[in-house]
């Protein structure tokens, strides 16, 4: 590169990376809740996210609701959908004591199915949220600009994240959710209604999915495949390390920053190659992820 990059450009790229990371983090935390607690990669989360994004769109476009109610519509839709997903795709297998791997399989099927629902209903045209939904779209700091929707993602991530940590660590229901992830039978022997606990986990994850769906929908416009962004959640969850939501959030932000960094240096085309190599190196160096607790099963 001939001309040295101006400082403001570098700063702008850092902001870009953090913004992207914030979006990923919100998606990842919702994904990681099920991943950490119920121990499987719930790709159906992407479907939930996608449909909620469209639900929010209808609320904003057809019913002309302002931002906050639109977000609420998205979250409620997400919660309902997540419960439906649990009932349709997971409940029955769990009752028959199927292994975790089956949940992965049905969850991906569910992602495809929800995507098809969107394709059938909305696939024929291009939709996007009215730009008036978020009044001020950018904040300007000198030469550096920050998109408000990303800022919203960031704030939501922080709130959702700390809320989740609190619930999982400090409340009975939160601990029960984690207990259920260890041993469903033993959980029921504690007097806990296991099904309710799992539904609760899905409701929370669905609400996060709905929230990220609406915010992502606003900033990224809509397409039926919008839910596939869930793979970022998957990457962050695994890199973050099992059992640590903090690790997941950190991993998501790092992923965002890394992507932007790679695009601004080697370009977008080959960055997946570098990301792959870095990923392998990282996993070798830190086999427990970013903040993974080194919990190995004891012989």
């Amino acid at each position: 590169m001939g001309v040295p990059m101006q400082f403001s450009i570098i700063l702008q790229q850092v902001v870009n990376g953090l913004s992207l990371g914030a979006v990923y983090a919100l998606i990842a935390v919702g994904f990681a809740l099920i991943f950490n607690v119920l121990k499987f990669s719930n790709f159906a989360h992407g479907g939930v996210l996608g449909i909620s994004a469209y639900a929010g769109y209808i609320a904003a476009n057809q019913f002309k609701l302002p931002l906050i109610p639109v977000i609420l519509v998205g979250m409620v839709t997400g919660a309902i959908l997540a419960v439906l997903v649990e009932l349709i795709a997971f409940r029955w297998i769990r009752l028959q004591k199927g292994q975790l791997v089956y949940f992965f399989v049905t969850s991906v099927t569910m992602l495809m199915l929800l995507e098809q629902v969107l394709i059938i209903r909305f696939g024929a045209s291009f939709e996007s949220y009215p730009y008036t939904l978020v009044k001020v779209r950018v904040l300007q700091f000198g030469d550096v600009t920050i998109s408000v929707t990303y800022l919203l993602s960031l704030i939501s991530t922080i709130i959702a994240f700390s809320g989740l940590i609190y619930v999982l660590k400090k409340t009975k229901i939160g601990i029960a959710i984690r207990a259920a992830s260890n041993d469903l039978t033993a959980t029921s022997l504690m007097g806990i209604n296991v099904n309710m606990v799992i539904i609760a986990a899905f409701i929370v994850s669905g609400m996060l999915g709905g929230l990220s769906g609406v915010l992502y929908g606003i900033s990224a416009s809509l397409s039926p495949q919008i839910g596939q962004i869930v793979v970022k959640g998957f990457i962050a969850s695994v890199l973050g390390g099992l059992g640590s939501l903090t690790g997941v959030a950190v991993a998501a932000v790092v992923l965002g920053v890394l992507e932007v960094f790679l695009i601004s240096t080697i370009g977008s085309g080959l960055s997946p190659v570098v990301i792959f190599l870095l990923m392998v190196v990282f996993l070798l160096v830190r086999p427990h992820g970013f903040a993974g607790v080194s919990f190995s099963d004891k012989a």
Partner: protein
């Protein structure tokens, strides 16, 4: 070539890749989200070697498989020792990287435009015989001690290690074989449809194969093969549902996995013994 034969060939070829996934995911519980990338690698490598460098088809296939195997070895070496979801992630990353490479090396691969004008060398006989051989291979593998080792590692790796099974090596063998299967299927596919593009080989395709394995029954080779035929034919068979067909396809999968959580066929296997016995008794009768 008529429509039905074309479809049948496609199904047979994809089934070979599914068999690779059966060994890897079904028997050994390793989830690879990059299997399709090996197929892409096989497809592109063979196509380029034959079309641009004029190599004979069989030789090109061998080179492509060797390439896939070496890459699988690299990926496996780095990730098969650590947690299983890391393997899923690393293979996912590998798949993305592979697609990126195929897309970016425009002068060699044609990039997003795809690679066209591949001669149609995959005859029906080649496809079907290849599938038969692949089935036979998996059957033999599973029947030998490797089959039991697979189950042992899948259910308790530590215990398997302690009784002398080199789990890492075993997983590596299986991963490498499955990558070879996928690459071979890719080569056949490229020379069947005569066109390849990078987008085909995304993680969704890998997941589709995993779904097929679980649909048919991860503990049943018969189930996997029949499940593969059913599910690979389904999009074509469901054309009467028009735009709903993929939705219907998903619903069928969900229904089966919900109602039969161990897959369509559970652990059931077709047994050749009754046939053999039948022939034997016939021979005996004839002898008499």
């Amino acid at each position: 070539m008529t429509f039905y034969i074309t479809v049948a060939i496609s199904i047979a070829i994809s089934s070979i890749a599914v068999l690779g996934t059966f060994m890897l995911t079904g028997m050994n519980g390793l989830f690879s989200l990059g299997q399709a990338a090996f197929m892409g690698l096989g497809a592109y490598a063979t196509a380029i070697l034959v079309v641009n460098y004029g190599l004979p088809f069989p030789l090109a296939i061998l080179i492509a498989i060797a390439l896939a195997i070496s890459l699988a070895f690299f990926v496996g070496y780095a990730t098969l020792r650590i947690r299983q979801d890391f393997f899923a992630l690393a293979t996912f990353g590998f798949g993305q990287a592979m697609i990126a490479l195929l897309t970016e090396t425009v002068t060699i691969t044609g990039g997003a435009m795809g690679f066209s004008n591949i001669p149609r060398l995959t005859s029906p006989a080649l496809a079907f015989i290849s599938l038969a051989i692949a089935i036979f291979f998996v059957w033999g593998f599973r029947r030998s001690h490797f089959g039991k080792d697979s189950l042992a590692i899948r259910s308790n790796e530590l215990a398997a290690e302690v009784e002398g099974i080199n789990a890492f090596k075993h997983k590596m063998i299986v991963f490498v074989i499955s990558a070879g299967f996928a690459a071979y299927a890719g080569a056949l596919m490229a020379f069947h449809i005569s066109y390849v593009e990078p987008a085909t080989y995304g993680w969704i395709l890998s997941v589709t194969w995993i779904i097929i394995v679980f649909f048919g029954g991860r503990d049943s080779l018969t189930g996997t093969v029949i499940g593969a035929i059913i599910l690979l034919a389904a999009p074509e068979a469901l054309r009467f549902t028009t735009a709903w067909r993929i939705l219907v396809y998903c619903v069928i999968i969900l229904l089966i996995i919900n109602l039969r959580p161990r897959g369509l066929f559970g652990t059931w296997e077709i047994s050749l013994k009754p046939f053999l016995r039948f022939f034997k008794s016939k021979k005996q009768q004839e002898a008499k």
